[in-house]
């Protein structure tokens, strides 16, 4: 497990740089982050196949839930970059640890919900951790101005690259700590409420959060778009026609 956490810490650091330092390659999108984490975490040979499926579901739900069409400056400071990694890691490793004490998982939906909840909590807490970087950046910025005025190019570059390393380190540390703390919380809490975890309840909560994800996607992709509902209807009709055609062909 130590190797798993080292790998996801490194991944978290890279994703923090992608989101905060300006790479903006979209590696830090929840779907990408969750799937990469799923590929890096190994809960044990018997769970290898699940370890690949659960991250897809966790990533897809987080992708829809965390997609925010507001401009970055208008958003609350959440760390959506590492949310996918933390969510996916807690879901997969939690499954490996808890399957023996939780009688039902509703076909894996319980672990997906655990991952989504962990990812959301990680996004909020990670936003607070990012505050540390903002404070340090303000101080470094003042030093950068002094170095620039002195014409000290080497000093300026060292300072700047130091800021880059800080973003990576904070991202890595937060991913490591966040995943560890949330996994520990899941291992401590879930067995105590195991009796109340039923297939029906898991299905209900999953359907509700899926509805929430669909609503968030609606706000992002349809609301405010000229002719948005017409295009949505066209998309639904085209997909339905395609599915029917495929089903007819298969039959």
């Amino acid at each position: 497990m130590i190797a798993d956490f080292l790998r996801i810490a490194f991944l978290g650091g890279m994703l923090a740089v992608d989101r905060a330092a300006g790479w903006n390659l979209m590696l830090s999108q929840p779907l990408v982050a969750a799937c990469l984490a799923g590929a890096l975490v190994h809960p044990g040979a018997e769970w290898e196949l699940w370890a690949l499926r659960i991250p897809i579901a966790v990533g897809a739900l987080l992708q829809l839930l965390l997609t925010n069409a507001a401009l970055p400056a208008a958003q609350k400071p959440h760390d959506t970059a590492t949310a996918g990694v933390v969510g996916s890691t807690v879901a997969v490793l939690g499954m490996g640890h808890l399957h023996a004490v939780i009688p039902t998982s509703a076909g894996g939906l319980l672990w997906v919900l655990l991952g989504v909840l962990s990812g959301l909590v990680a996004a909020v807490l990670g936003g607070w951790v990012q505050g540390l970087n903002r404070a340090a950046a303000a101080s470094d910025s003042r030093r950068a101005v002094v170095l620039a005025a002195a014409g000290d190019a080497a000093g300026y570059e060292r300072l700047y690259l130091g800021a880059l390393v800080r973003i990576f380190t904070l991202g890595a540390l937060w991913t490591w700590c966040g995943a560890l703390v949330l996994l520990a919380a899941a291992i401590a809490i879930l067995p105590r409420v195991a009796e109340g975890v039923t297939t029906k309840r898991i299905g209900f909560v999953f359907a509700v959060i899926l509805g929430g994800a669909v609503a968030t996607a609606y706000e992002t992709h349809v609301r405010g778009v000229k002719g948005g509902l017409r295009w949505t209807a066209a998309g639904a009709a085209a997909t339905a026609a395609l599915l029917l055609a495929l089903a007819a062909e298969a039959a």
């Binding site: 330092a21 300006g22 390659l25 979209m26 929840p30 779907l31 990408v32 590929a39 196949l49 690949l52 499926r53 897809a60 829809l64 965390l66 925010n68 507001a70 401009l71 970055p72 609350k76 509703a106 939906l109 919900l113 989504v116 909020v124 950046a137 303000a138 470094d140 101005v145 014409g151 300026y156 570059e157 700047y160 973003i167 109340g196 297939t199 029906k200 309840r201 909560v205 999953f206 359907a207 509700v208 509805g211 929430g212 994800a213 669909v214 609503a215 968030t216 996607a217 706000e219 992002t220 992709h221 349809v222 778009v225 000229k226 295009w231 949505t232 066209a234 998309g235 639904a236 085209a238």
Partner: protein, 288 residues
Amino acid sequence: MTGESVPPPEEPIPAAPAPPRPIRARDLGAAGSRLLHLQALLTPDRMQGPGFAFSLVPVLRRLYPDRDRFAEAMTRHTSYVATHPLLAGYVLGAAARLEAKRAAGEPIDGARIDALKRALASPLAAIGDPFFWVVLRPLSGLAGVLGIALFGAADPSSPDVRVLLCPLLLLLTYNAVALPTRWRGVGAGFAAAESPADLLRSLRFADWRELLERGGAFLYGGLLALLAAGLHAATMAGGSGLGPVGAALLPLALGFIVARAFLRRGAAATVETALTVLVLAALVSLAL
């Protein structure tokens, strides 16, 4: 008066300016690659200014071997710059061109360089933010999610390759537009430094934005259809805890309505909305 003309006092002969060193393509390339780290020192008072100066170091070092002039240029570029990170190359290229002219002795003062940066940075932010952040990024995310259905469910006994294909689809959708834009920014800005208005007019992101917005709504419709099909299949198969289709649709509609109500009140609070929906769902499920 003797009529003899007095020779004028000798004026000091001005020092010959250092021969200009033209910027090389590799200097611009180095500056452009540094733009990848443009926001590592993002602060509210200078925004991307420190990052902009960091990116320009290879160019300024080449143009101003003299430490004082280098320091003056660096100070100029650490000042406030706020633009879209993917379009910053245009600003950087244009600023580099004016710095090169200034270094070569043309009468270009620092204020003109600042004015050019301002004239490009703000409009590029106004163009880039709605296109890349509001439309393209969510659209690529939706494409990645739809990939789950597009690539089909894997054989249960083999590894699910969608764990790689879905993220890849997302990354390709976004970067197919973002990387070429980034790539040509510095060169285009350098070439069009004298006519920033033409440069801005040449960028057609507003047209593309409308098209992609409709594409997003279209894909959202596809998502709904696939969701309905998936829900139908899951309820038919049983074991998921969702129950019959009608029973599954009820909580789905509940989640949709509650989330929309919260999002309409605070569109930027997506995380809080999702957490609230999840907690409410867990509480309501206790009654089941």
